[in-house]
Symmetry: D2
């Protein structure tokens, strides 16, 4: 009989759903040391929270997050709220001695991430920052190949994360446009993933040079439809100021000498969740596109010259990373990455080990994003170390 661990889920939105899925499924596919118990779900709207909790089998609900975090019977705090409150919750959870599973981006600024990392270190709790794309099998396999030296010296990392969901000027001024609530626009939401992947796959970033751009300066206040905006709905006639960029293009210089870029935008018509990278090295190259997440493109310079080409590896073999699901060619989806994250997290909890990415990774990521924002503001190259 596996030991039970009680989970408190902080939030009940889109990410709450993805995390609940993971806690529910993890034991069916991975050999993890615990049985997670969906103990309590914190939410701000009682009706929504109750409905959510019933659907997913959370035993209790609560409207008081501090109480939840400090309950004696809670082992793990899982944070899926809007970004601005991550820090307060994480610090409280650390102080209460709870292990922490936290959605990205880590926090709205570098200072908050430092506080989170310090609190977790001090408390000695396992802390995990859910940049889930690391745990796409194709990405984990890319990592494995790079570590085996198959790319040689890395020259370039070209990351792009393109979406188009706010192109309509009538898309309302939700929290995603308020700097104190979200930290930034696509720079924080999307490039944070790219920076995480680049650090994971290539290494640390020394300096950045960036230009941010806002195409729509004012938007209708949310009114009644806020988060549930769909084209053609009712538009609030009152407008408010957009505080974050709509697009962020960044050039990155890596510690190891590689030259890279991170381009993110919410104005790339037709791109839904186009999270891509290209990596070029002295021995080969890799490319990835999340919208075809089961595939990894690999070029091997050791192949005979006339037989070289980018090959499409379907990363679904039972010997590929995270191969617990079905069979070769039986592709998996977005949600499975959350199960992978939870499985790794539970193993780290058992051994009380560090798992990556964690709040220290969050620190480095957000510091890089702040450097990019400063670069755009001051129209100059900024060394990441300038951000204090």
């Amino acid at each position: 009989m596996k030991k039970k661990l009680n989970i408190a889920l902080m939030g009940s939105g889109f990410m709450g759903k993805a995390h609940s899925f993971a806690w529910t499924l993890v034991n069916k596919f991975f050999d993890v040391p615990y049985e997670p118990v969906l103990k309590v779900n914190f939410g701000t709207d009682e009706d929504i929270t109750r409905e959510f909790a019933e659907k997913w089998g959370w035993e209790e609900i609560s409207m008081n997050w501090e109480e939840v975090i400090n309950r004696d019977d809670i082992d793990i705090v899982d944070i899926v709220t809007p970004t601005y409150i991550h820090k307060d919750m994480a610090v409280a959870a650390a102080k209460a001695g709870k292990h922490i599973f936290c959605e990205k981006p880590c926090a709205v600024n570098y200072a908050q991430t430092k506080e989170m990392a310090e609190a977790a270190d001090k408390a000695g709790v396992v802390n995990y920052l859910n940049h889930n794309y690391r745990r796409v099998p194709a990405v984990a396999f890319a990592k494995q190949m790079i570590e085996e030296g198959k790319l040689g010296t890395i020259y370039h990392y070209r990351g792009a994360y393109l979406q188009d969901w706010v192109m309509d000027p009538n898309f309302p001024l939700t929290w995603h446009f308020k700097k104190d609530l979200c930290g930034g626009g696509p720079l924080f939401d999307l490039s944070s993933h790219s920076v995480d992947l680049a650090r994971y796959l290539i290494g640390e970033i020394d300096a950045v040079t960036a230009v941010n751009k806002t195409f729509i300066e004012e938007r209708p206040l949310p009114g009644k439809r806020a988060a549930t905006f769909t084209a053609g709905g009712e538009v609030n006639s009152e407008k408010g100021k957009v505080e974050v960029e709509d697009a962020s293009f960044m050039i990155a210089e890596f510690e190891n000498g590689a030259l890279g870029s991170f381009e993110s935008t919410r104005f790339a018509s037709g791109r839904k969740n186009y999270n891509t990278f290209e990596i070029y090295g002295s021995k080969g190259a890799l490319t990835f596109n999340f919208e075809r997440m089961n595939e990894l493109q690999y070029l091997n310079l050791d192949d005979p010259a006339d037989e070289q080409g980018f090959k499409t590896i379907l990363v679904t073999n039972m010997t590929h990373p995270y191969a617990a699901w079905w069979a070769a060619g039986h592709v998996i989806g977005y949600e499975n990455t959350f199960v992978h994250a939870v499985a790794d997290f539970l193993k780290a909890v058992e051994k009380n080990e560090t798992i990556e990415p964690n709040f220290h990774d969050g620190e480095k990521i957000i510091r890089t994003l702040e450097a990019a924002a400063l670069s755009s503001d001051e129209k100059r190259r900024v060394e990441v170390s300038e951000i204090k």
Copy 2:
């Protein structure tokens, strides 16, 4: 509070896993009228069955399938055994008044499928044959487009289902090579899916002309590794005769005048689960490849001539079929199709309605496959109606 329905799962292998996943998840994502209860799991190996049942939460296990099917507390019989026993179980379940959810192929021959359909009709139970690829969102969307007339008159259906898992001559003589256990090789295993998709999307097949081919006539007896064959394992020195084809190429003439083909093989090096179709009509064309199951290619002849081209539709919008999962661009996987099937099945059970495909579809599919086998044997075109 939703009414509970007790499920009996007959089998605990690969498909048992996929079905258990679906019963577990269906209520989280779809608004279904029942709460499925994972009541009892029938298996032939007690240890394996027990382990499986515990992992997935099946309340009980049993080694006696007839007893299980006739239990008063069972509402639904879900059959995931090897093909040869489908008929006996389905007929017994029908007689016991249970609704039936059955894996494909329907049975090992046309006669059995007729028996199954008759028994289900007589009992008035809801019966469903799980050709799950119909319930890939991209395929359901293709169906919707065709029904809206977007392809006009259909001229061609080119179906191919290619795999490569038995290319090693040392792959052992498992049940997949014994005609009385499986009905046929890729013709039954793979082309059954293609025929199902073609009937769903285009219509009935009048006549077929086929050539089957066996490349490896004898294989090592299974010995100790049967189902768990991996290259490099121990090979049984004793051999037995392969009774089914390794590849089956078929030309199909459709009732509506379209000319089509179904090509299936287990000897297409590099193809893992390459289930594809191309449909050409007077107004447009569609193509699909399961290995990129979130995508549908569509060519619209109504576009200006110079702007025509196959477009890659990412079928992940919240307005696409089966849009209950995540968000646009957040791709899903193989397993989700089983949840879709269970959701539709439960809705049919509530209303006591026919769902498709069912045993009558199984009849037509297997009849077509038998016609193909006869065509290959007799080296001539065979009308499907010749098969009695």
Copy 3:
């Protein structure tokens, strides 16, 4: 100073243009032993022929094909007329001792091709049948790889050649629909290429099983717009009977045991010149699509299992076949294949050697097509050797 060879071009249409291009360019890119002289162009319409000849620098024109072929100063007869006259011209040219460069398909039936081959053999002239796709660098490279054993034993050849140019029912009844002028529909026009490629790459075909289909039984007589049909033009109210198929699906059994198919149609909406093949062998696989003619897809089963995938080789290296043009990555086009053919032909002429494909290949190809037509008519498998 290179020896001059005088060319007579029989025809001045689309293919006349492509061949003129090749004779003009061959010396600029390939080291050929002769300087071709564009001596005389035969045509049936004096004005069109004069204009064509002036544009391309043909020194003279003639309206009398027999006279042209029998001129003492002509070394090479290049036939680009409609198919029905190939035989008469080729036989005359052979008798006159001229080397022959002839467009495909070889002739309208098997009997004619035998006559052509016999006449050429008897005269000892070099004869070449221009199935130009063999001389796409990517295809020539595929051949090279197969000959080096990189695919091992071949199991499957899946050829498809899809177009859509006659889908409009008002497309007029040009010579392409009259059996005595063209031999057949897509079977002769398109599958002839597929059969040529399959024989080149894999080997001889023993038996075929085919179904032909005509979707539009009658079409407007050509009236004034015949060959220059464009949608929306004037339609002749008088109609005539279509004598050839609109689509031809064929299953092929190869001498070496491989199972293949050739599917051709003029009713594949959106496909312009979609000439493709997939070859699966015991050691690897290759796929090709002419619309991306600079690319060859290759899967190598010798790669580590987890790194296998179809790679896109850009066949433009200066070490790839026919590498006389530009530089790696500088893609070439349709017309360049004609230059390759002329270059190879001139080298064969110098050494008085056999070049492939030639009229004997034409014999075998047309025999296979006739077997397919018979198979469709008699609704049975036909051995190619049945065609006498």
Copy 4:
């Protein structure tokens, strides 16, 4: 009878070949007002020049460029030399009243381009700068679509031009690495094309922010193999300093508010001539990759939401730009773009009209590149207008 125009070709290397091809072919495919006469070829090595001239039919050769340019019988000076001498030749040609067809990049610095443009303006000669990728049919079609408003307001231009030909540290120190001979590395060689395409398709660039990077600081002196380097050849033991960047990543701010990037490198393993762009606008998007130069990807936001996707338009219709070649689906290659350029140039000569791009475009392009170099040097954003 068309008027003859005498051409002087300055240079006889790779580009000499491409231009000779174009002068030879232009009249066969395009209705141009002149017959170009391949009069004289200037070269620096008499043997090479003689051989080249004979192959292509240049009537005379010369080792004295000033003499050639000043010959009374020359109408057009076509410059295909290394970059550093463009300015001197172009200015001399303008003074001699010759029309000028000049390879890119325009010159080694902004000052030279100004001199060229002034001299051409003063002389009133037609001058053309051969950024040939504008004349790929797919690119010209993209331009046409943008001008018709099909993309709406442009938000993003993502240009990348990636190659890998100097990754070997033993690739020798040819003129491509000496700043006074070439102006720059990939910034001048590759990004010049990207800047040209972006200006053509989107509009002027106001400011740039760039980072250049050199991976290999020293290389073997050319020794005996300079331009003909192939891996594995003899390496000169003496080394010299590389003076240009190996990679250049640039962010561009456009006059119309769009945010863009230009990334060029010679260290992208596996990329041969990967010249790509993505353009995102309020009504749609376009993407292009030269290695598939016959294709244009187009997303139309006016399509029904659930049917949106990037479609692959095969830009080979007889109604697409530069449709003089073959037929739909009959793809063309790199060299054809040179014929298009010559055809447009001759039409401009006839009407004594401005053609684009010309030396004024060269000015703007090189000014932008100099701004990028300055940005990289000074680690700050640079307005293009700062370059004087």
